[in-house]
Subunit: 91 residues, 2 copies
């Protein structure tokens, strides 16, 4: 089983009212020294078996179009828990 | 500058309708083999200078109470971009 993580964050030049609200609340909650907070989304996709190159391309396309609003958001895609190496041999 | 990342995800036993909707849409969008999708939140907190132990405790408390709904969500806290080592000496 392979886990693909897609982190979607607002672009740096985009205002993030949710993050700003959290940052403004922190000092009154006893948490000082936080300069800024940004809030984004995290998607965890579980793939059966090993992630193939074609699947990775598909998921990148989905991440860029369905999971991310490319006007205001950037995404980063990571492969986690990829503990099986694709040897190309049937298992 | 230190970046603290808080990943908030629905607990495994909690239904995630947003993630399920994405997972159900994927095959029709040409993305096969994805067993499940979970959607959560990602917070990036920027701290001036080095993260102290007291600040870390504060942020863990905030993550557990303000950023996470402990009834339905779990969180993971990570320190990133911590390229300055706190030697305890004034700089």
């Amino acid at each position: 089983m392979t886990r693909v993580v897609v982190d979607v964050m607002p672009k740096p030049e985009i205002l993030d009212p949710q993050g700003q609200a959290i940052a403004q609340a922190l000092p009154t909650l006893g948490c000082a020294g936080v300069r800024s907070v940004r809030q984004g989304k995290r998607f965890e996709l579980e793939i059966d078996g090993v992630l193939t190159a074609a699947q990775r391309t598909d998921i990148e396309r989905i991440a860029a179009s369905l999971l991310t609003n490319p006007v205001i958001e950037d995404f980063v895609l990571r492969i986690e828990d990829d503990d099986v190496v694709d040897t190309g041999r049937p298992r």
